[in-house]
């Protein structure tokens, strides 16, 4: 079975919300739509206080190069346009909307029919991705229209769809495969057409046999879609590791996948592409897993983007268990701890993971015994223990020479450290210091 070769760990999978079918979360009374839900500059708000908006109406326009359109996820009246703190406590420009009814733009096809034919040319597909505000849903939220606009002189040979879902707990991609396999395959075909590549490979970790079977069966009706079962090993779904597993190619340090002829998109993105291109539906909904070992019930929801964490918790759980210790947006390996539960969800969110006090606590740090486990777990072949020492002693130049910027922050080093050293924290700090040093030199 295919896999990346170097390093990796095997955290407890905990896919306890696997069997919870996707439910629709009701629309709350008030919405906050952030203007930067993507990598790059914030979109410019084009609505004012008192404006009426419909579901799917453009409210934030991409004016900078690295930017994406933002659409209203609800219908109602604009309450105000002012900054709002996001889930991690950073103030971002936002549009507040008072929800009134649920009136959609007429252009959006809301019928349940599956539309298979796509007559658009590659250029038109990319333009429409921009119009619909599609961004990568694997976590980085890179604007899709920039990614699929291949630079002059580069050529894509492989399209790889990341359905590894190697993060513990997350099941949203799994549910999409189980419930929307055909739409996903249509979305993949559209992306394949946009790139002009002969084959698309859907990489799925082998702990999802039902999804693999379902996708294989569906993909048979499509030309050029190959389902690739992958070994269960974290971080199988990291971009460079996935490319290595599927094609055997390796993206060199500081290069992009397109430099080795590869393009990777998340499975959720493929589904959003289907809805955008075939149904004219902008990216206004997320598929979210609400899960946790100590929760009474496990859920997968389709949520309007802009619903706050508190709204989600209230609807799915009533209230948080008294022993809650941490709430994570994303999986346990790379997700971020939520600081502000009044913050709205944004494009690319995949879960609300509720951890118990006991699980959330870090064990006390002890002395490094130079066992080398961090080094052997590192999928990039780096020396995390050394970064820890260099960063603590502010030896930033040396950290750079030891390629600290190659780190993908997958967390394998900290996960495997018997001394509980917060290696990933220290490396993140070191990367920021290196970047600051490089910026200062310019």
């Amino acid at each position: 079975m295919k896999t990346f070769r170097m390093g990796g760990v095997h955290p407890e999978e905990n896919k306890i919300s696997n069997d919870a079918a996707i439910e629709v979360m009701p629309v709350p009374a008030q919405m906050v739509v952030l203007m930067n839900q993507h990598l790059g500059a914030p979109a410019t708000p084009i609505v004012q206080k008192g404006d009426k908006v419909k579901v799917g109406q453009l409210i934030g326009e991409a004016q900078a190069f690295m930017c994406a359109n933002v659409h209203s996820p609800v219908s109602g009246t604009v309450l105000k346009v002012e900054p709002c703190k996001d889930a991690f406590g950073l103030a971002k420009p936002a549009v507040y909307i008072n929800v009134e009814g649920d009136e959609w733009m007429e252009t959006i096809d809301r019928t349940p029919d599956i539309k298979r034919e796509c007559t658009l040319e590659p250029k038109q597909i990319v333009d429409k991705l921009k119009e619909m505000g599609i961004v990568g849903l694997g976590g980085a939220t890179f604007p899709a229209h920039i990614k699929y606009n291949i630079p002059e002189g580069k050529k894509a040979e492989y399209l790889i769809i990341n359905a590894a879902e190697c993060e513990p707990y997350l099941t949203s991609d799994y549910r999409v495969m189980m419930e929307h396999a055909e739409e996903v395959c249509i979305g993949v075909s559209i992306l394949r057409k946009a790139l002009g590549v002969p084959n698309a490979y859907i990489g799925i970790e082998n702990n999802k046999p039902l999804a693999i079977a379902k996708m294989q069966e569906t993909a048979r009706q499509f030309e050029g879609i190959v389902v690739e079962p992958l070994k269960v090993k974290y971080p199988q779904g990291a971009e460079k590791q996935l490319i290595n597993a599927v094609t055997g190619r390796k993206v060199p340090s500081g290069k992009l996948p397109i430099d080795v002829g590869c393009m990777v998109s998340n499975l959720g993105t493929a589904f959003a592409v289907y809805e955008a291109i075939q149904k004219n539906k902008p990216l206004i909904e997320n598929i979210l897993t609400v899960t946790g070992k100590k929760l009474p019930s496990q859920h997968n929801y389709i949520v309007r983007i802009g619903t706050t964490y508190n709204d989600i918790i209230k609807h799915s759980l009533g209230e948080l268990p008294a022993t809650t210790g941490k709430i994570i947006s994303g999986g346990t390996m790379m997700g971020k701890a939520v600081v502000n539960l009044d913050a709205p969800t944004v494009k690319g969110n995949s879960s609300v993971l509720v951890m118990d006090e006991g699980e959330a606590r870090r064990n006390p740090e002890t002395a490094c015994i130079r066992c080398g486990k961090c080094m052997h777990a590192c999928p990039m072949g780096l020396e995390p223990y050394m970064f820890s020492v260099l960063v603590k002693n502010n030896r930033i130049e040396e950290a750079k020479e030891h390629n600290i910027l190659d780190c993908i922050e997958c967390g394998c080093c900290f996960f495997s450290c018997p001394a509980n050293k917060p290696l990933t924290d220290e490396i993140r700090l070191g990367k920021n210091k290196v970047r600051a040093m490089m910026a200062a030199k310019k």
Binding site: K250, T324, P379
Partner: protein, 349 residues
């Protein structure tokens, strides 16, 4: 509601801990300890207990009164040092107090002087052992004869009193195989199988290759050690001594033409080389000490090869009959250098 924890990713941790690693090493040393007790009797157990207790006590005292830091004796590393130190001394009555001095040097000089666990460049147990070897050369090389519990049970030991007389050694102490070879030539040696299961004289943890390999297999299974250092160490010692043996096998010939005295010349056969002395214990438990051995696999191979070469060189041409301790300590000293050369292979490089 509680305040939420907002630490960075990853939010989960493997169940690996330093404490668990150290306790598993202690577990892995139990078979060798049992064999030692079976062959040498209760003195082996008593020395082990004294050694372990003194290591733990010295670490606790040093941390509390000199370093003034919270005690870390609970992590079990001092017990590993104590056991390994005990395994490196003969099971004689005198050792019951001498080993306390060894423990003080092992923990005090070998480990805590450098800042404690993880910071010591040399294997603490070996620092203690070598200190004792130099300070108490007679006591450290006076070996009790194998017998112990088994002789009470009516099972005869391999080196019989007849043999002992023939070897010219005192009837209450047995010579180590390497000592026998240095002084008497190979004919007097026990057979390889006896060496493997442990019917020979020696430091009490060094006698049974089988018991040590059992423990090593457990450590390999639990991924606490990897095969690289033990295989490189033992393999190099085997190949190097095989080359020497091939060139000039051990045999008896006239060594003083005037006096016409007979003596042994040539080199020991490779199987005897790897089954005698501390090679098995050293290769599986002491050279693999995480703190003092290289981290990259390539570095571990260099380290193992170096240990193997130095062991045979010291045994063959050095003044001491045994060279494992010195070989490992010498290689410990170049570990930082090996770590600097031997980097992991970077992704896409």
């Amino acid at each position: 509601m509680n305040l939420l924890n907002i630490s960075g990713s990853p939010h989960v941790h493997s169940d690996e801990s330093t404490k668990r690693i150290m306790w598993r090493v202690n577990m892995a040393l139990i078979p060798a300890l049992l064999v030692a007790i079976a062959y040498f009797g209760m003195s082996a157990l008593i020395i082990s207990v004294i050694s372990v207790l003194s290591c733990v006590l010295f670490q606790w005292l040093i941390e509390k009164y000199i370093m003034k830091v919270p005690s870390t004796v609970g992590d079990g590393s001092a017990i590993v040092t104590g056991l390994l130190l005990a395994f490196n001394v003969p099971a004689t009555v005198e050792m019951m107090w001498i080993v306390v001095i060894g423990a003080l040097v092992a923990i005090g000089v070998g480990k805590m002087a450098f800042g404690g666990l993880g910071k010591n460049p040399f294997n603490p147990a070996l620092v203690g052992r070598v200190f004792l070897l130099i300070s108490f050369p007679v006591q450290m090389t006076t070996w009790p004869k194998v017998g112990g519990l088994f002789s009470h049970m009516g099972i005869s030991a391999t080196i019989t009193p007849d043999q002992a007389v023939q070897l010219g050694v005192d009837a209450t102490t047995g010579a180590t195989p390497l000592g026998i070879i240095k002084e008497h030539g190979l004919d007097a040696l026990p057979q390889a199988w006896d060496l493997f299961i442990g019917h020979l004289g020696g430091s009490f943890g060094e006698v049974s290759a089988l018991a040590i390999l059992l423990g090593a297999a457990y450590l390999l299974w639990k991924k606490i050690i990897s095969w690289h250092i033990p295989v490189a160490f033992i393999g190099t010692a085997f190949v190097f001594s095989a080359i020497l043996y091939f060139v000039d096998p051990i045999h008896v010939e006239v060594i003083d033409k005037v006096k016409q005295t007979m003596g042994t010349v040539g080199y020991i056969d490779p199987l005897t080389t790897i089954l005698t002395g501390g090679i098995m214990l050293g290769a599986c438990f002491m050279a693999t000490d995480m703190v003092t051995s290289p981290m990259a696999k390539s570095g571990q191979i260099i380290f193992g090869v170096g240990c193997g070469l130095l062991t045979v060189i010291i045994r063959t041409w050095g003044a001491y009959p045994e060279g494992v301790s010195f070989a490992i300590l010498l290689m410990n000293s170049v570990t930082p250098l090996i770590n600097r050369w031997c980097k992991p292979k970077r992704f896409a490089c």
